[in-house]
Symmetry: C2
Subunit: 600 residues, 2 copies
């Protein structure tokens, strides 16, 4: 039985209208708060009613591989078709390609609802949107005409093909080859694994974006990353002139993986057997370059990383709703304070402080994470220079944090939801254990979280000598300094400023020239966690400020009272962890690197 | 495919011979280190060869409920029979009942091997041992004659029946009734759920220990805990005079649960339909009292809690071995320091600091936990007065910590093993995801971990005004003060003493009369975690001391060098967390209790 799902429409309206919108220069100024609410209410109804009940079916049936093709669980085809019909696949896609052209912030809200209601089904669509964005930026004109509109409409889906059996993170080792043909196309040969949505029965065609190696001038393939390019490889051939669908393109499905969870999404092995591929990567003059293709892939990866963090958060949201309902209904024990007791033999377990701790821990992460996800999305989408460029850089800096910290905390969060249910949480029919299993993948795919931490420290912090990092700290400092002297939030702001000092010190520790080659790796993970906790603190300060303002005019506003409570939790119980994490970071690699490999 | 399992014999020999043995007044003085090694080598071979391959089978097939009875997965019957034949079920049971009469410390080593190699199969036996210990202490003479020997031999198994559909922790609410008969027996009626090993095909009989309510003098059943007694209820009747097995005793199996993991162990619903029960609880004069039965149940629970923590640790041990092997074999990236690079295009991932962090984090918890588990077991078994009684009290104080902290950290540990494997960790065939799913139960059953934290603070800390807690701190202080002035471990000892101060302050905070009714609950969980981290630090100090001594005579001793590295990790990266956790603890319930239930 699937857990109930209630989409958090009010949360998004609050964030878009009052918290994140005002932080961005160009929010959806053409949409009023009422417009937003109306769109999201409609989306909420759709995903609650049509998608949410399928989540369990997806887990129980999984995807079936037979006779070379994948069948999705019962009901997925119809629910996906209904999703396309209602326009939810293309809500944030540009109007010129058939999308609704709404902002990415609205798109992100809709994607959260999709992920919460049925993460495995939502992933087919999420990857498609990432793929057509990459093609839009890097594809040839015929692709924009004959491929992208089908993907925007969701009639065709997309994948990202990077991993091979022996190589994931280390793309240098890849062995999939792209042999140039005289007509400017390529023939791809090789095996890719872990391809989400690699095959299925939802769409008429699948557009694979495939990393493969080009031969050097002597026809040899090297271990050099510069030989890797990105190719568009359709499942069924597409005529570049007419756009007509043709024969199968030699992409054989080798099988689907048996996984811990997210079973409704087919994770495929794909064998490319001389498949025709088209190289992606467009310079301003319209010619392809290898580096622009790789850049396109990295853009897609970054977008997928943001998406992964938010998928994780969406999963935690559903678990939280279930746990909160359970805690209000399940009776056990008596309230510690006799004045809080009902007359019944036992009280609902929500009277117990440790149960509340588990719930508030979940909610305070989820709500701050949602805010941060929207803010980063907004920053990344604000093209431009000066202040906008600076914010874009901060958005890129925070992308690995959103991927890793969100997926770590979301997993912990769903586990907390399960924990609160005691033994009942372990029973499949009660639903939450599926969310735990499904949610475990988000720490692993799109670059395992340890890789995100390295990306944060080596590339995002190190590459520009910390400019993006220090810009971020400046933003937060400014927000802290803007708290009025009569605000009840001054202690929170002070705590955040103290944490900021600690982070600054740690950032400088990493940037210090004297650091050993291993220090960054040894301490990157804890640093990422610190940034995650701190960023959520920043969000809680912004949200609490709005809540305080609302309460000045409406002292009974329960929504705002709730926000102040959750903010207090974060400042009381999460932010203080930064002090101990700093000690960890600054121990460096001493305790890690001395042990010979055979002694582990 | 099951993960490989290598039983850590050398670890146990080191602990029993050199670390924990010397801390106890009566270790296995009749066994030399060589004897211990021989026994454990034999056990290791058995569990590695016979049980370890069944772990996957248990997960894939699960237990099948058909025609009112449960069938265990293929191979379980044979492997269980071989286990009995080899004598492993009764290794630590008293010789007078047919056991081998070895110490509980040896028994604990064997149980770890059993749990690591096949946790679901091991649980049938673990519960049996807990049950016959309870019967030995609280049963009538005929039970000692006709029941206990069969359980010691493993021909009959045992269960513990507490939970009902609407009540787990809150036993007051239980509705299972025991109606007294004229012949001194009782008729039990009611439904129990989540009964591990509640039915199966491994043994000739199952002895259920059942909590049920006695009527008051008017025949009425109350919500008063004092009306609850403990009953022995066999699946098949046992003639108290002859011991002959009789007809079925009206214990109907209602079904088996579909669970996240540990699927090879049947978790049953049992309906008692007028089943004959025998009340447990023996005073010195041989008569039964309700309170002694409840005490017996609590003893069984405490033993089961220790066992649960150790089951969790056993699961983490297996995941760790797999992860360490994977890290030595999987190639990706290059060592940060060029001097550490192999000539190959990529190095084994164990060269990367963040991979080592994940491994050392696992090993340093597991090895300290194993030591603490043995020490606590030893303390609990040292009957006596004075110093022995004081250590017994410390053992009882630490029991909820072993249950909750071990299961929390073991779950994290197996997840770290999975994390290190990237996407491969999520694939069922690679084995670790099963250990994660199996291991999740240990945080939930035998009292969810939040309940353990309450037990720690309210009963174990609070009941005697902290005597056991302060005794524990004194022990650790003494160990710290015994470090010689020329020891390289002085910094570790200093760090441990600083942590001790913090713990002492937190303990006094809980004991402070002015504390609100909700503060204990609000801060109990973080306090338990602090004690867990601190206790493992204590173990690392003891182990590092021995390692240091060994290295003085054998400077190349790799085993000891390894121990010093792991100790350094714990003091560098785990112990410092105590400082931030203290801040959390002392915020009390302010951020938790203000929010109305409907706003969650």
């Amino acid at each position: 039985m699937a857990t109930e799902y209630i989409a958090p429409v009010e949360e998004f309206v609050f964030l878009l209208d009052e918290v994140i919108g005002p932080e961005l220069e160009q929010a959806d100024s053409d949409l009023s708060g009422d417009d937003v609410r109306q769109i999201l209410d409609e989306a909420a109804r759709f995903f609650q009613e049509v998608w949410a009940p399928l989540d369990t079916v997806g887990d129980e049936q999984g995807c079936v591989f037979r006779d070379g093709a994948v069948t999705t669980p019962a009901g997925f085809r119809q629910a996906y078709a209904a999703f396309l019909d209602a326009g939810w696949n293309s809500v944030a896609a540009p109007a010129e390609f058939g999308g609704a052209g709404l902002s990415e912030l609205i798109g992100q809200a809709v994607r959260e609802f999709a992920s919460s209601s049925c993460n495995s089904l939502g992933l087919y669509s999420g990857l498609t949107n990432g793929a057509h964005a990459t093609i839009r930026r890097n594809g040839a004109p015929w692709m924009l005409e004959h491929v992208v509109p089908f993907m925007v409409a969701g009639k065709w889906t997309g994948t990202m093909c990077l991993t091979e059996p022996h190589c994931g993170t280390d793309l240098r080792l890849m062995t999939t080859r792209a042999r140039p043909e005289e007509d400017g196309t390529y023939r791809l040969t090789g095996t890719k694994i872990f391809i989400s949505g690699g095959d299925h029965d939802l769409a008429d065609n699948i557009i694979h974006l495939v990393l493969a190696k080009l031969p050097d001038e002597n026809g040899a393939y090297s271990n050099d990353l510069s030989s890797v390019s990105l190719f568009l490889v359709p499942k069924f051939k597409v005529d570049p002139i007419s756009g007509a669908l043709g024969a199968a393109n030699g992409v054989q499905v080798g099988g689907v993986e048996h996984k811990m969870g997210l079973k409704g999404n087919a994770t495929c092995t794909l064998n490319f057997e001389g498949s025709i591929g088209y190289r992606l990567g467009r310079s301003d003059t319209g010619t392809c370059t290898s580096s622009s293709g790789m850049r396109g892939m990295f853009e897609m990866m970054n977008s997928a990383r943001l998406g992964t963090g938010l998928q994780a958060l969406a999963s935690a949201q559903r678990a939280y709703t279930h746990a909160a309902n359970y805690a209000r209904e399940r009776l056990a024990g008596r309230a510690g304070n006799p004045a809080d007791r009902s007359g019944a033999p036992a009280d609902p377990i929500i009277v117990h402080p440790d149960v509340r701790r588990l719930l508030i821990k979940q909610a305070s992460f989820i709500e701050a994470g949602r805010a941060l996800g929207l803010l980063v999305r907004g920053w990344l989408d604000e093209a431009g220079s000066g202040e906008r460029a600076r914010r874009g850089a901060v958005g890129r800096f925070l992308t690995p944090v959103i991927k890793a910290f969100f997926s770590d905390r979301a997993f912990e969060s769903s586990n907390d939801a399960m924990q609160l249910m005691g033994g009942h949480g372990y029973i499949r029919e009660n639903g939450v254990e599926q969310l735990v299993r499904d949610g475990r993948i988000f720490q692993l795919y799109e670059g395992a979280n340890g890789v995100q931490a390295l990306d944060l420290v080596l590339r995002k912090l190190g590459a520009d000598n910390g400019v993006a990092f220090f810009s971020f700290l400046s933003m937060v400092r400014e927000a802290g300094q803007n708290i009025g002297p009569d605000s009840s939030l001054l202690p929170h702001a002070d705590a955040l400023m103290a944490a900021l000092q600690i982070l600054e010190e740690c950032g400088r520790w990493f940037l210090d020239d004297s650091r050993d080659a291993y220090d960054a790796g040894a301490s990157s993970y804890d640093f990422l966690t610190m940034i995650g906790i701190f960023s959520c603190g920043y969000m809680w300060l912004l949200m609490a400020l709005r809540a305080e303002a609302r309460l000045r005019s409406s002292p009974q506003d329960a929504f705002s009272q709730r926000k102040l409570h959750l903010a207090q939790y974060w400042f009381d119980r999460e932010l203080p962890m930064i002090a101990s994490l700093k000690v960890r970071v600054q121990t460096g690699h001493a305790c890690l690197m001395g042990l010979p490999a055979e002694l582990f």
